[in-house]
């Protein structure tokens, strides 16, 4: 048998997951609502795999994916082939995941699949194209520095990260300008292997019909076994209570209180109570909103757990008049204290939060293209496969108020936090 098939539960369309002998996870969703198909390759890599010497290379690699490869000699040929196929494509590099995706008419599925295979397995890293791309990426970097929250992003890396470079996927100019073919090939050798990746296909196709072709083509991708992704250390630490005043343009004001959260890599069991807790807190009729917005100084507030393997965090935040920011922090701290009172969490509210998460999933599943490019890649990486996603709703429904209290006792009570007060009066990062 060339591959094994596991049928997954999905609400709007059938999904099958399988694994090829070379370790590649293949996820196929059948959605016949429109005659297009989306092919996505997701790789366990990103900024978190970088050192100070390689800070920005995961992102640089993503740019080179759209250049010449073994089938298409340069970017001009690459672009020309995209036009022939009417292909809409993109790629993104995050701290913990890199994704490449394309959408074509379903009658061009074979061609689209082959295009993806050539691009992912045979990039040329032509030195001339690399030199050109340095300038392109520098412009992307410069654009980011113009963003009103650039200052905050940098300060957040500074305060929360153990290794700053692992939190900044855009990288630093020195590394971007020094990228060359050899470095790109090293990156490919380590991370761009089937056992460190997943192939996701959704759209107007039949899983049973396309699986042999998928298996034959992507089965040729050579097993690697070299990725250190699973062994990477946690990259968030808040050793003591810290308050940072961050500058931002006129007219803006924000407050954030951040705690370290449970890692999706090895503390996944906490994530269900964390998600239900976040949803509970976000209810517009809940005490948190009532006390801080309806009867408080904030314009909006949220509390959430960010499901990450290496930089998991729990954040309380809100928008506020800059002049009231310090007062807002105090009130938010008081509200955090109140969470530990006996009746703060009740079962009807927890049921509502759990139901909201179910609905949220239904809304997310509206577009199978979004599933291929957003939902499945995220959960495949953070959940370590799609079992987590598959069993997610059932596990949420089991969360009790006692478990939420346990979660708060473990992750928030007496734990150090980092407070960010973001106002025009704050400090500016040079």
């Amino acid at each position: 048998m060339l591959y094994t098939l596991i049928f997954m539960l999905s609400m709007n369309f059938p999904v099958v997951e399988s694994e090829l002998p070379n370790g590649l996870d293949v996820i196929i969703g059948e959605d016949h609502s429109s005659p297009v198909v989306t092919v996505c390759v997701v790789v366990n890599t990103g900024g978190t795999c970088e050192s100070p010497e390689s800070n920005g290379l995961a992102h640089f690699y993503e740019h080179m994916f759209f250049k010449g490869n073994s089938a298409l000699p340069d970017q001009t040929a690459y672009n020309s082939r995209m036009r022939e196929l009417g292909m809409i494509r993109n790629g993104t590099t995050g701290n913990e995941v890199v994704r490449y995706y394309l959408t074509v008419s379903s009658d061009l599925f074979d061609e689209g699949l082959e295009f993806m295979y050539d691009a992912i397995t045979g990039p040329l890293f032509d030195p001339e194209e690399i030199v050109n791309e340095r300038s392109v990426i520098m412009n992307e970097y410069e654009r980011k520095t113009n963003h009103p929250f650039w200052n905050f992003w940098r300060m957040q890396e500074e305060v929360l990260s153990i290794d700053k470079c692992r939190s900044s996927s855009i990288g630093v100019p020195e590394v971007i300008m020094a990228a060359d073919q050899e470095i790109m090939m090293e990156f490919q050798h380590e991370y761009y292997t089937p056992d460190n990746s997943a192939l996701i296909i959704t759209g107007d196709i039949e899983a049973e019909t396309i699986m042999p072709a998928v298996s034959e083509m992507f089965g040729q991708w050579e097993f690697g076994g070299r990725s250190n992704y699973a062994d990477l250390e946690l990259n968030i630490s808040i050793p003591r209570d810290t308050t940072v005043y961050v500058g931002c343009p006129e007219g803006l004001g924000m407050v954030r209180i951040v705690f370290v959260g449970p890692s999706m890599a090895n503390q996944q069991e906490w994530s269900y109570s964390a998600d239900v807790w976040g949803q509970y807190m976000g209810r517009m009729t809940g005490e948190f909103h009532e006390n801080l917005v309806a009867n408080g100084p904030f314009l909006d507030v949220y509390a959430s757990y960010y499901s990450q393997r290496f930089e998991p965090s729990i954040t309380f935040g809100g928008t506020i008049d800059p002049e009231l920011a310090e007062e807002g922090v105090e009130m938010m701290r008081e509200e955090i204290e109140r969470m530990f009172e006996e009746d703060y969490f009740n079962e009807p509210g927890i049921e509502m939060a759990s139901e909201q998460l179910r609905r949220s999933r239904l809304f997310n599943e509206e577009s199978s293209r979004d599933m291929a490019t957003e939902t499945f890649p995220f959960w495949w990486v953070e959940g370590g496969g799609l079992d987590y996603y598959n069993n997610y709703l059932e596990n949420l429904s089991l969360v009790t108020s006692a478990e939420i209290t346990e979660f708060l006792d473990r992750w928030i009570k007496d734990q150090p936090s980092a407070v960010f007060i973001i106002t025009p009066e704050g400090e500016w990062v040079e």
Binding site: N146, H147, M284, A294, E366
Partner: protein, 433 residues
């Protein structure tokens, strides 16, 4: 009495299962039935946009609608928040030159309740000054945040030279800080009372609820809206008679450049050729500015095709705005003069076909297409027919359309004068003359 008119489909790109009907008060509804899911999309369009605004009340409609949506007499603030909690429905607002749009995303089972609540908010708004004041501050912060980002602001800078003094599209539907901060609940009440009339409203829907049932839900909710409506003056041509340039100094590492020029009216014979031409310009800008010259991360070209007055545009962010602008006009001139391979033209049609397929998966986009088509031409099919017309376009057709329409241009630049020499800026002629 509700009458349902079923549409017969003649073109492959034009969707099936679309139904049009009017409520008793005359509100026109276009519904596309999409079976197989539980997610509904419904858009409420309030027609008017910049045409009903003046210098002193820019943003009033955005303010009034957001204020209304904080609660009504029957659904006061807390009750309304509870409904939003229980349903997890979302309302997304957008305000543009020709209309305001509120889009509802919800599950089928919640549709009647949410429609009733929404209509009640429009007709009997609670307008609690404290709640509305908080909403107003949020609006101001969002607006300021947008204006702080040169990547957003550059489009407005280009408008100054392109649209001509006094043009209604210079008025900002989402407001400017000075006007937005001046409104109060009385302004909102007055505005809603004058604008919420059946003749100003169009509703579009995409989702599993069948039209017969949708009609009942809408009659029970929006059927209460009084008859009447505004008469809108024709939007004037953009008053640009010579190439212009407006430059703004800002401490940015990357400069931003946008140029705008006239485009044909929606539904006109040349609209498809022009749209394809700008698709070709987009492809070639990428090839020349990014692939060959590595001058930028972000470059694009395109055109609007659903407003009363439309425009083509080119955009770039770069540290070399002068060289980039010169190359951009070179690309434009090549397309005008037909120096383009037919394969690029065909590629644009191929891409559009795929985009059409992607759009079909989104109820939100379907609602927008149905509504913008109906509002701009009286025919919801217009955006879909435009897609049909892109097939088989020739180099000759696209170069002629671009040549006919694109003459004088309005340039906008944001750059740091400490890095870039402003004396080198000039309104580069589009056709390279």
């Amino acid at each position: 009495m509700i009458s349902l008119l079923f549409t017969f489909v003649l073109f492959a790109a034009v969707p099936e299962n679309v139904t049009e009907f009017d409520l008793d008060n005359g509100i026109h509804v276009v519904s596309r039935t999409v079976t197989g899911g539980e997610v509904e999309g419904l858009s409420f369009f309030l027609v008017g946009g910049s045409r009903v605004l003046n210098e002193d009340n820019q943003g009033i409609e955005a303010f009034a609608l957001e204020a209304a949506l904080t609660g009504s007499d029957t659904y006061p603030d807390e009750r309304w928040r509870e409904i939003m909690d229980v349903t997890l429905a979302s309302w997304n607002a957008s305000y543009n030159y020709d209309y305001s749009r509120y889009h509802l995303k919800c599950l089928s089972e919640d549709l009647p309740l949410l429609l009733d609540g929404f209509a009640d908010c429009l007709l009997e708004p609670e307008l609690d000054p404290v709640v509305v004041g908080r909403m107003q501050n949020s609006q101001l912060i969002a607006l300021q945040s947008d204006l702080n980002d040169p990547d957003n602001r550059i489009w407005l800078v280009a408008n100054k030279g392109f649209m001509g003094a006094g043009h209604p599209y210079l008025l900002r539907p989402d407001g400017i800080p000075s006007t937005l901060s001046s409104f109060d609940v009385d302004d909102a009440r007055e505005w809603l009372s004058s604008r919420i009339k059946s003749g100003n409203i169009v509703i579009t829907h995409a989702g599993p609820t069948p039209p017969e049932q949708l009609a009942v839900f809408l009659e029970n909710s929006f059927g209460r809206i009084p008859e009447g409506g505004d008469v809108f003056p024709e939007v004037a041509e953009f008053g640009i008679y010579q190439d212009t340039i407006v430059a703004e100094n800002d401490e940015t590492l990357s400069a931003y450049v946008v140029v705008k020029f006239k485009a044909p009216p929606v539904g006109s014979e040349e609209a498809a050729a022009y749209s394809t031409a700008m698709g070709v310009v987009d492809e070639m800008l990428w090839q020349v500015l990014r692939t060959e010259n590595a001058l930028t991360y972000a470059v694009s070209g395109g055109s609007t095709n659903s407003y009363q007055r439309n425009w083509g545009y080119m955009y770039i962010s770069t540290t070399e705005p002068v060289l980039s602008a010169s190359l951009m006009t070179g690309v434009f001139s090549d397309v005008v003069h037909g120096n383009v391979d037919q394969s690029v033209v065909t590629g644009v049609a191929n891409n559009n076909r795929t985009i059409q397929g992607i759009n079909a998966q989104s109820m939100d986009t379907q609602c927008w297409m149905l509504g913008s088509g109906y509002i701009s031409t009286g025919n919801w099919r217009t955006p879909y027919l435009l897609q049909e017309s892109l097939e088989d376009m020739t180099v000759y057709e696209i170069s002629r359309a671009l040549s006919d329409w694109a003459g004088t241009a309005g340039w906008g630049i944001i750059a740091d004068s400490a890095i870039v020499d402003f004396a080198e800026f000039e309104p580069w002629p589009l056709k390279g003359e």
